[in-house]
Symmetry: D2
Subunit: 339 residues, 4 copies
């Protein structure tokens, strides 16, 4: 039977150290110490986080050396035409820039791999992208495209599959597109991660067989990932965290003069540290635990249930198709400009 | 765009009063006071909860007068052939018994309606059932079968659709099959609810237009429902509850002599009341809140996010197909025996 | 098991008398005698045949009283963007004109029925149209849309299904979309027929139960049909006819002075009568038979085989999706203009 | 856009010389002269034609050296459970026998490739087989399975795809499953061809790039093929041939005393030579042409139409799914017995 391994790869900026660069001093310190360079910028509604990790940084934060570009529109909704257009435009710019040093010979090939399990909607962005490209009247001569399915279905490691094709086809570039798991439910389907480090299942735990990267294949590998699921314990710990922070913030604001004017809402607060002492009487010592400690507690609790749960947006089918179309359209525009 | 309304109907035994009949005295009291009769029995691995609600009970617990039979195998897994066979056998017995008073004329028709949205896997049990029946070589002459889709797709209330067909076809029985939302994640895909009260979207909130029932149609309506999703706040509150109860139980057991021998696990404890005082220092006043109060807190917290989340088993596609096949097979056997 | 009944309806201008109005005199005679009015016109590449049949004509040619508008682009190919755009534009004009006398109340409903069997590609235009409309972000408030499947699947006559919905919904207009069989393989997927006479399965043989028409339902019914299949004996007889005519024409042209200059090809010749005497030595008495007599011979011959065959374009899937999109787009534009 | 190349391979016994071995003398002569050994046998309802071609034979009949086993049930219908069971049983026996010399190491892999275009039903047997194998609860450890799609979709030769995987995976055996074109419409979906010569697109025309065979890959390749389509000119010429033969036979029988008793039908007559002189007056010189000459005439005639046609059984979707299941089931049984 087929299985899903949502932890194939993670978003880089969920690495603890990257997430916590909330103040300028922290960021500077992180960059100096760890060989990680972070640049935040905005283009229209799209927030871009551009992270460069060097060899030192790889050891420090456990993320492969290379470049990670995360595009995000926190207010994106499923029928937000303008948002998707902005996202595609900014993705194209960054995609072009990431590959501008490649020289294209006349008969260069680009191997496009849509990863994931077609029968599980939130995991189907990769296969849907390949379907979308297949359905076009004219496909680019350079493109060679497969949606290999998952190891549990095919009986073969996906990394081996890509290696087999790469060896014979000798493409100039490999593009892998995949759904990702995220640790932050508010990012679900609102973020695209672009990286030149490939796909490292199990986050660099060293399972070289499954890795799809320039290091293992000798060919540049660009990965495009969209977070579409959260694991249940992650969701729960995140919601508890969000709830505790919101209450703390509210209590803090009550004492400010502005409180009388404000319509305080349950908006996710920034990730900066908060003194949660005021809510200890209600929520106990627990508030002083880290989010990760609470998550571990929920993992243990839920492990006793017989069914593994996943959390996904209610309109997962729409998001999945939208992103498949967005990426297909971006790739077609990009390829036409190469010639 | 299509939308999903997972709250179309609920499991009867999640009505507060029914859930809490944990001791014999409570059960007796509930039955006496509220016009609700509850019978628990086991057939093999299947736990059967047979609930009869009369007019008084309807007012008391807000569930329609009628019968609700809930079949459950708490240890069911997705490749548990034996479990599914037992489930089908017990479903057939109860289905037969529920309809044994119906007289079948020679040209009687049975209208089978598979509710739900085909494009959202955990909502697709109804449409998949109809597909499954269509794919059979021989279908029963009595069966008339449709998967109408959801109102957001068709532009027409599903209740109206069924009423239109019922008026012209004049079937002897209407069977509606649907995916349900549950309040207990441990029930997901492990429970079948059978009821002669039909489908009451919004749990009897009085939206008569959508109701599919003997009362509105003048024809017996049997509903078969499978819980396949949990709403995110429900999951979170449930997990918090489970965590708090487990810790309390552990602490209580620590003082028993048996503790040294036991391999205490995070198993869901029974729903009986627990004195949570011992964990107050860690979790604060919060432990004395009800599960519902905590759930409301999470609903408010999550409402600020732009994306609505659903929680579903990782193998939702398998469960959905299995149940579609199970119900198709049960219906075919049942219909053959009618002749 | 599901079955296909490709003879649900025919193209009107394949009625013997209509086909043969090749000369002006013939046309005049046909119109006078039979209560059939025919108007041919062109808009860009689209050939429009506009046929009006009155009560006398209905008896004469066995086609229901009413209007039949046939749009045709003989040179249409599957990736002919310009052709499809012209087709859609002309279809919209004729569709608007056909319905301009209808008064639309504020809460008027339009029932759109996509007929056909989704699992058989060339029969799936109706179901695909409904899918296409469902996938749109905004659907028109007036639209109520179903793809009921075929009787062999659902256990219920499609005509009854539509009648049931029409009775309860009381729509202002019913639109049925269906794949058709044609007698001329060169028309396959290059023709749209629009008629206000509804759907008459078995071509008016009097099976009132299946008929979907203003006469049976008391509501205007507009049918949009696309020929996507030819029966095998029809194809064979047509090919034999085409071959015999081509050879006859070639032989005739050999004696003209122009023959030396011409690149005579196997182009389908016009349907005017030809003296086939010159080819009798090669093809025998057979050449004097009518196309219909030859077709009957092939029907008898092929009837001995155990498998029924259908003939369809190699790219049937593409044509089917294109027409589904074309009709969806036309209907959306038309509906927006109503308001 | 994707295209279909139905002429990927042909049934061996449609090679002219093989088809015509109708009398014992002819057969002996064919075998002697051409290095082709033919053995006909029956198992139950299944007719088996077992053809061995050696190097001499390869030159003589233009079919690769090797073995071709054709299983056929001329009376098979789509809901003929008994027929399909017999077919599967006999296929298994022959499949086992064909591979009994292979030695299976402990970690041997078998590469199963389902060829064809998933979106064109009669071409989808290969992809459906892979789906069927994926949906099984337990797949065999030895199986590695892909449905690569067609070159027009993927941008890569299917032969190259298989070569790439074979090089890296180093399987002990490659099994390719494909839909075939046939020259005889009465064979459609009633025949399975098994061969150890692999897939030779264009029937050995020398396009080595696309060939999937032991010769090109250095690994045994077994091909399982099911004829599901006929080209239109082939159908027409076949039907004309069948018609001419039937009439000739009838006329011949009219003079026999038995004629008064017989219910002469339009059954396909055997392929032995017939003296068609009696029907010359009706059908002319044409009757003396060969079937191939007539077919060429129809090819030229139909080439003028803009749409390429294919002929396929009306229930192509059923046949396709049945054969996918039959082959999946046979492969599972076979693999289990290997251990």
């Amino acid at each position: 039977m087929q299985n899903v391994n949502w932890q194939r790869t993670d978003l880089v900026d969920e690495a603890e150290e990257v997430v916590l660069h909330q103040t300028k001093e922290q960021k500077d310190k992180l960059e100096q110490a760890s060989g990680v360079q972070i640049e935040d910028r905005h283009v229209g509604r799209v927030k871009i986080t551009d992270v460069r990790v060097d060899a030192t940084g790889e050891k420090g934060i456990g993320k492969k050396e290379g470049r990670y570009i995360t595009l995000s529109i926190p207010t994106l909704t499923v029928d937000d035409q303008d948002g998707f257009q902005q996202m595609e435009k900014v993705l194209l710019q960054n995609f072009q820039q990431l590959h501008e040093t490649i020289t294209w010979s006349k008969d260069a090939k680009i191997l496009i791999i849509g990863l994931g399990n077609r029968t599980i909607t939130p995991d189907a962005i990769g296969p849907y992208l390949i379907d979308e490209l297949h359905s076009l009247d004219e496909i680019d001569d350079k493109f060679v495209m497969y949606a290999p399915g998952v190891t549990g279905q095919t009986g073969y490691e996906t990394g081996e599959f890509v290696a087999a094709l790469a060896e014979r086809l000798k493409p100039t570039l490999i593009i892998v597109v995949d759904a990702l798991a995220t640790r932050a439910s508010e990012r679900l389907c609102k973020t695209i991660q672009l990286t030149d480090t490939g796909i490292h299942p199990g986050s660099g735990v060293g399972n070289q067989r499954q890795e799809i990267s320039a290091q293992t294949l000798g060919i540049p590998v660009t990965a495009i990932g969209i977070p579409t699921v959260v694991d249940a314990p992650v969701l729960i710990a995140g919601a508890v965290e969000m709830m505790l922070r919101s209450i703390t913030t509210r209590i803090a604001e009550r004492n400010k003069p502005s409180a009388k004017l404000s319509l305080t809402s349950w908006q996710p607060t920034s990730e900066q540290e908060l003194d949660m002492t005021p809510i200890k009487p209600i929520f106990g010592e627990w508030v002083t635990w880290s989010k990760e400690e609470r998550q571990q507690l929920f993992e243990e609790t839920l492990a006793s249930a017989h069914t593994q749960l996943m959390v996904t947006p209610k309109e997962a089918d729409y998001w999945t198709e939208r992103y498949a179309k967005l990426i297909a359209s971006m790739l077609m525009t990009w390829a036409q400009d190469l010639e």
